[in-house]
């Protein structure tokens, strides 16, 4: 019991603590093409589990835009909040989704800027790479290094 409760207590008591836990890139078909963890705090899952979660998120994102109670277009879910972390989603015009897992205290403006920066890095280091096949997993050292500079 004591060993179990140690980690959550640590996290709950530090609500002002800011962290970026991870980044996913989901292609327009719902496949996970990039996944990287930056900080501890969330469960360590296998590659397969991440693939399933990304697919689920892709589906949920499509449904949430249809549930709007008011007229006009609604976007899909942009921020999904749990108690100790939140999931921020940026949907690009081409259908690629950038998903950033952060602590709840992280301000929305910071996250939006960061997601935009990640998107431009992606455009620069991944899409401009002639050896990269679109919609396929991203294996690019240049992208990894640039992200390391952005997020650290």
């Amino acid at each position: 019991m004591t060993t179990n409760s140690a980690t959550p207590v640590l996290k709950l008591s530090s609500t002002s603590f800011m962290a970026i836990f991870g980044l996913w890139v989901i292609n327009k078909a719902g496949g996970l093409v990039y996944q990287r963890n930056f900080a501890d705090g969330l469960a360590q899952l296998t590659a397969n589990e991440y693939l399933v979660l990304a697919g689920t998120l892709h589906g949920i994102h499509a449904i949430t835009s249809r549930l709007s109670p008011i007229p006009g277009q609604s976007s899909g879910a942009q921020v999904i909040e749990g108690e100790t972390f939140k999931i921020n989603v940026l949907l690009t015009l081409t259908g690629t989704k950038f998903v950033l897992l952060t602590s709840p205290a992280e301000p929305a403006s910071t996250i939006d800027t960061l997601l935009q920066k990640i998107y431009s890095t992606y455009a620069e280091k991944v899409m401009q790479n002639p050896f990269h096949t679109p919609e396929m997993p991203i294996r690019s050292e240049a992208f990894d290094v640039s992200l390391g500079g952005l997020i650290g």
Binding site: L45, L67, S68, P69, Q73, A77, I80, F85
Partner: protein, 215 residues
């Protein structure tokens, strides 16, 4: 800040209650048998007239819970009810109300599906028993409060609102316990009837309209 709608689900994944406020984009009426009776009168298709005569009055105390009434404290004459409880009537549809293109029973399943998937996703990602709290799109925000008994309270509000979990908890602790759990005329977990009744609806309505975030 606006509140749009409230859904209550029991632990069997079925919607047992629905209420809405400033909702300007509405679902189509549920198909026959799509949702339980006594969930909400605003979203069921009006029953055909011939049904009224076939319902034998007082044949069973359950008659007060048919889809035609949706009322627990009620008389079994349809006409008498329509004058007796204006609150339970379907709101007249004002001009400018659009349709989601979805039937209400479909919508209810989609909402539940989203809530359940996100709940599982949050649990999986956090690796502990963490609750899903809310999500936000450009048009609305969905809040979830889950009780230990498996009842899920889901509320849709405008995207600018803070977390409304405490309001959902208040509905649970206040009107829900008082007029549903402690109401001997309501069988909980019945899988056959919703929990709609006049007191609960009025009480939730009063609570929401009286709150600071209601326009």
């Amino acid at each position: 800040m606006t509140i749009y709608s409230l859904y209550i689900y029991d632990r069997h994944c079925t919607c047992v209650y629905y209420q809405d406020w400033h909702r300007t984009r509405r679902p189509k009426p549920a198909v026959e048998g799509g949702i339980l009776p006594a969930v909400s009168q605003a979203v069921v298709a009006p029953p055909p007239e011939s049904n009224n005569s076939t319902l034998a009055p007082y044949s069973s105390p359950r008659n007060t819970l048919t889809s035609a009434s949706g009322v627990v404290v009620a008389v079994s004459e349809i006409n008498a009810q329509s004058t007796a409880s204006p609150l339970l009537q379907a709101p007249p549809s004002p001009i400018g109300v659009t349709s989601t293109g979805l039937a209400f029973d479909e919508e209810v399943k989609l909402v539940y599906g989203v809530v359940l998937s996100l709940r599982n996703m949050i649990k999986k990602l956090s690796g502990r028993d963490e609750q899903f709290v809310n999500y936000r799109t450009s048009a609305y925000k969905l809040h979830l409060f889950e009780t230990l008994s498996g009842y899920k309270f889901v509320m849709l509000s405008d995207p600018g609102t803070e977390s409304l979990r405490f309001v959902l908890r208040q509905i649970y602790v206040g009107p829900f316990l008082e007029y549903v759990v402690r109401n001997p005329l309501i069988t909980m977990d019945s899988k056959e009837y919703g929990i709609d009744n006049e007191y609960f609806r009025a009480s939730v309505d009063r609570m929401i309209r009286g709150s600071s975030f209601f326009p």
